[in-house]
């Protein structure tokens, strides 16, 4: 029974990581300089979920890892007065769609709540088992 709580906890961790990543993406939706001070757009982060390796026939948790999206091209906007503009006068902005991020945030929130509800059910079941002890 306590393993069941671990599984739900892995779901909570994964969804929280998604929310953190989404918050970072939105915060950096207009960042045009990297940590080294070079004009380079922020690369969008995404969370990759996979079912945790497990003994066959049991419930399985989830594993989450953060990956950098290197495929999407930056949005190029003509703004010659911008300090990070290139020779042609274009500024490269991160390819972050705030609406997509918000939709993902709603999904992550709901999935987080679903895992919480599962934990509550499991806790009630553990309670009723422990009451057998009197």
């Amino acid at each position: 029974m306590l393993r069941t709580l671990d599984i739900s906890a892995s779901g909570l961790v994964a969804q929280r990581l998604r929310m953190d990543t989404i918050a970072g993406n939105i915060a950096h939706s207009h960042t045009t300089m990297n940590e080294q001070g070079e004009p380079s757009p922020f690369q969008r982060r995404l969370v990759v979920l996979e079912a945790a390796a497990n003994r066959h026939g049991r419930g399985t948790g989830v594993q989450a890892s953060v990956e950098v999206d290197t495929q999407s091209l930056p949005r190029r906007i003509h703004d010659p007065g911008h300090p990070h503009a290139d020779k042609q006068g274009y500024v490269s902005y991160p390819n972050i769609n705030v609406i997509t991020e918000f939709v993902n945030a709603v999904e992550a929130t709901r999935a987080y709540e679903a895992n919480l509800s599962t934990m509550r059910v499991t806790r009630d079941m553990i309670d009723s088992t422990f009451r057998l002890l009197g």
Binding site: M1, R3, T4, I7, S8, S10, G11, A14, Q15, R18, L49, E50, A51, H56, G57, R58, G59, T60, G61, V62, E107, A108, A111, A114, N115, S117, T118, M119, V121, T122, D124, M125, S128, T129, R131, L132, G134
Partner: protein
Amino acid sequence: MLQPLLNSTTTPLLKQVARFAERRQEVLAGNIANIDTPGYRMRDLPVAEFQQALAAAVARQRSRPISPGEAPLTLHSPGSPGTPMNLVDELFPDSLFQASEPRSQPGITFQDANNRSVESQFLQMTQNQLLQQFAAEVLRQQYDQLQMAISERP
């Protein structure tokens, strides 16, 4: 030592029901944790097979009732052959507690090859929880009655 007392009536069956429900909860929790995992297929325990095994076990208990009064209180070591516990437990093989992906999946498969259905998962989880609480509560009452008989106090 008290095998005839503890294994009479429905006690061993309720034990199996509670065990099944707790294992199933683990599988359902795994489904919820993987609700956004691409390619994950919802898993479940073989519920219909378990119900059949339960029905068979109930029928067997009925055909040869062992009431605590009839059976002599002998010094059985737990698990020795011939005790009622073994007769019931052998009807519940480990394969009943192994999760698998059901062949006929009722839900829709999404673009990420996951066939999530939060509603059906929570419905099954609620039913499962009620089953487990029922088994635990009846078990508790049976133990209370035993306790009452032993202590001769209500």
